[in-house]
């Protein structure tokens, strides 16, 4: 079975630093980006199964990234994480096709569970 790929995009480097080893422990293949431009470049090359993205960023923000992902990889699932969690942004993200909306600060377990569920859904999408 092909390894599940996860893309983490957050301008806070610590988020990727901590999530990457934990998710790799769970058997995912993880790539970390701290700016949306390089993440978009990578998106041009490949579709990840699960995307984890922050909302507030320089340049293309999380919401724009979500749109791009859904446009290019409709089968992938996107988990939005943000410190600026408001009802409006959550609704907007879900309408735009986000799988989950997690507000900072979160525990590693929450992300793990969300990724696990998203992976199942992504696999189902492909199948």
């Amino acid at each position: 079975m092909k390894e599940t790929t996860v893309c983490i995009l957050d301008d806070e480097p610590i988020v990727g630093d901590r999530l990457k080893p934990e998710l790799e422990d769970d058997g995912y293949s993880v790539e970390v980006f701290t700016d949306s431009a390089s993440a978009l470049n990578r998106l041009d090359e490949t579709c990840f199964d699960v995307f984890i993205t922050d909302l507030k960023m320089e340049g293309v923000d999380g919401m724009g990234f979500l749109e791009k992902v859904k446009e290019k990889c409709p089968d992938s699932e996107v988990i939005v994480i943000t410190g600026y969690g408001t009802l409006e942004s959550a609704r907007e993200a879900l309408i735009k096709g986000a799988y989950d909306f997690i507000t900072k600060p979160f525990r590693i377990g929450e992300i793990r569970a969300a990724v696990k569920k998203a992976k199942k859904r992504a696999k189902r999408n492909i199948a």
């Binding site: 630093d17 901590r18 080893p21 934990e22 410190g83 600026y84 969690g85 507000t103 600060p105 590693i108």
Partner: protein, 547 residues
Amino acid sequence: MNQIYDSPDEARQVAEADTQMGPDPEVAGRYERIRAAEEAHRALLARPRFSLHLQIYLGFFLIFLFVLGISVALVVNMYSVENRLRFLELVNEYVVQIDQTRRFEKNYFLYGTNLKDAVENIYQAKDLLNRNAEEIGKVMGKAGQSRVLQNIKIYGDLLQRLEKLEQQGMRGADYQRVKNEIELQLRESGHRLLSLGQDLTKREKKSLTDAIAHSRYITIYSLIFLLIFLGVYAFFLGARILRTIKRFSNYAQRIASGDYTPITPARGYRDEFTDLALAFNHMIQELENREAVLIQSHKMRAVGTLTAGVAHELNNPLNNITLTADMLLEDYDSLDDEERKEMITDVVNETARSKKIISNLLDFARESSSQLEPLDLVQLLQETIDLASNQIKLSGIKIELQATDNLPRIHGDIQQLEQVFLNLILNAIDASPKGSKIQVIIVPADDPHYLAVKIIDFGSGIPCNILNSIFDPFFTTKGKGKGTGLGLCVSQGIVGKHGGRIRVSSREGAGSTFTVTLPITTIPAEIGAATDSRSNISSFGSPGPQA
């Protein structure tokens, strides 16, 4: 301090915070203001009192005294006229008697009529003189009086001698000779008596005319004098009142423009207006207190707005700490020492970051009294933008700060000016569409003694019809519960107090530019004069740097 702290560091931080909040600048500023107010109070009351009451009463009393004087003089003069009239009558009567006597004397010599009537008349004249000896003496003097009396006596004696001569019944040449001799003397004496009388009449008539003229002059001159006195009195009283009223109307204008320096003595005495000045000074203090409350409450509102941004921004370091702690908890055993150390360092750093996010806001929120110092406007604006950075990030708007190099410092209160610029920047953020930018440009103003800060947004702009009202208190275009309508009003008050002004220009659909001009620090003394000469219209030239 008997509080127990979790760590020595925390205790030290609290101690530092205490010393930061300590009495030095703000309390000193407040003391200075209170001392200035007390000094003004003392100086106002230290002068000798010369009340308006006193001036008015004194003036009327002087007028009364003067009128009393005129009246007394006129009454005295009238009395003297009356006396002269009576005396003139007396003299007239005397002259008539003498005239009669002379007529009888003439009849005797011409027609040989009896002498009795002449003697009777001369006795009546003498009697008249004797009865009024005192008055006559006063007018003629003792010498004149005795001369008249002597003349009468001589005349009477001559008549008596003539009468005796008649009674002796002498006839002949001897008789004729004596008679002629007496006749000659009689005529001479009679003539003298008459001329003395006429002379007296003339003199009395003259003094009567004099006395009447005198009373006329008294009336005319005193009227002229009274007119002059009343004019001068009215002038001084009026000038005193009007000048002071004008001064107070200037004070009122000055206070309205935000200058809260207490009124100091302008004259060498105190009066009812001093009470007014004291009331004004009291009012100034109250206004100042209220303004401080208003500024502070408005600042707290800005703090409230910023808190949302801070709370959101705080989630990032908190998340980093949580994730790191979580990982340490779960994988502690599998991590090597180096990794653990690195992660603990991350926790420490992220905690410091959290503290910084909050401390800017706390610095700004702290209440402090006005304190003027030379300020670097660029640095001040950078700090203000940092303060609003979370809000800016939250709204997805870019902010650009541009400044001409080597700008002079301005003179101001850092906290209050930060509040003004924060308010303008938050307004600009509210007006800007997502993804647009805000420009903050610092340049020398058209007036070489001023710097101008332009805050330019590219939002919807302000409609012309409300452009003039935006500085009015309680005017707001924001929804209910979103704006107090005091932001620009308070900002203008603060900038006005700094000797500057806020102007606005706006094009609907193209955005707005708020320009704050502030005096540079080299001319603190001219600040007041400069504000007075500048009007408060909302106008503005072309936006953009002018250096």
